[in-house]
Symmetry: C2
Subunit: 202 residues, 2 copies
DNA sequence: GCGTTGCGAAACTCAAGCGTATCGAAATTA
DNA sequence: TAATTTCGATACGCTTGAGTTTCGCAACGC
């Protein structure tokens, strides 16, 4: 054993450039953020944008879908810590995450892909759901269950329906609202409206 | 003036086939319903599916987008008459329209395009919004305003937020629900949940 | 019947993009 | 230094589809 011995011996030859790898993924995300669907994405455009030869891409990913999967996987946004005190406040935090993402080009990547390409790229969707959607759903479900237990929410609450109300209302705004950023108090207003309902006798 | 004189004199030669025109539009809608995005749609596929020569398409529409706009325009679903009695019931009727559409292939055309191609085809979206979305928004807004006036809904209601809650929750189900048809009582459950809120003390 | 126009089919040119191969240069190990 | 591997660049053959043209036939008015 030599002194320099890692778990897998480094093969001879020039090592792969991490910088190129990052540039490729960045270029991919940029193009998606600019509104390109997966089917319109071209390897040539990605290579050109990344300042990289096509060879360098094909040496790492065997096709476009694999690349997009890996690129989206790097977007796994960390969920902010929940305060675990007021359920209302935690729900606001969860919606605020969506609002922030909708304001950034990168965040819209996720949205665009999720909305558009669900049927056409099932393999992509599966991985994407697992990494990006499931954790958030779990967090929201946990918060709602806590609210039911604590009496902050009604005891007979349909949790799935409540989740659809909260994130559905938020998504409706991100997709259909007039241009520009979503107002900062939107999550708060949505949570309060969903809690109180639109009926009379507040 | 001859006896046979319409407002526009029929030009000489063989008249254009209405059957071909319909077949083209049907084929276009079929392909979209099967999950094809606008960018993946090919004139050749449409012509083949319609049993029509490419010439016959290009004689009528100068490019793909014009064709898609016209095809989607034929989908203008008539809004069912509202009962104008219980606001709750009218809201259920409005959501039921969405539920039914989500169950049919044709209805998903509209959804798919609306969700996916908003940014890429602004001209298409503009016409589409005017024909398909605006009338429904008007109907829902009118119903909600009626509810505020009648006392069925709270007097300080944020109408836009309420619209987002109702259709957002519905759309959330159409997009993310497990496969299969949406349950028949979903509109009712959504409307009741949105009216009552998820908070305690029903 | 004759001129005109639409029809479907097929061939065509043109562009984009895929995936592969080849090049000389650069980076690394032995 | 020699061997090996990656680098970006470029060229290549191939497929797909756009949009045009040409063909022989069909449908219409006159």
């Amino acid at each position: 054993m030599t002194i320099q011995e890692s778990t897998t011996a480094r093969p001879a030859g020039r090592p792969r450039s991490e910088k190129a790898e990052k540039a490729i993924i960045e270029a991919t995300l940029d193009l998606i953020a600019e509104g390109m669907g997966v089917s319109e994405l071209s390897i040539e455009a990605i290579a050109s944008r990344a300042g990289v030869g096509k060879t360098t891409i094909y040496r790492r990913w065997s096709n476009k879908e694999d690349l997009v999967v890996d690129a989206l996987a790097t977007l796994r946004a960390p969920l902010p810590p929940l305060l675990q005190e007021s359920v209302r406040d935690d729900l606001i935090v969860l919606l605020e995450v969506i609002r922030k993402e909708a304001g950034e080009a990168r965040g819209r990547c996720v949205m665009n892909i999720a909305m558009s390409e669900a049927d056409r790229y099932p393999r992509l969707m599966e991985r994407f759901m697992k990494r990006a959607v499931e954790p958030r759903k779990r967090a929201m479900r946990g918060t709602l269950e806590r609210g039911v237990a604590s009496g902050e929410l009604r005891p007979d609450l349909d949790i799935d329906l409540a989740m659809a109300m909260l994130s559905g209302t938020m998504m409706h705004h991100t997709k259909w609202a007039p241009a520009g950023d979503l107002p900062a108090d939107l999550p708060e207003r949505i949570v309060d409206a969903v809690i109180a309902g639109i009926g009379p006798q507040s």
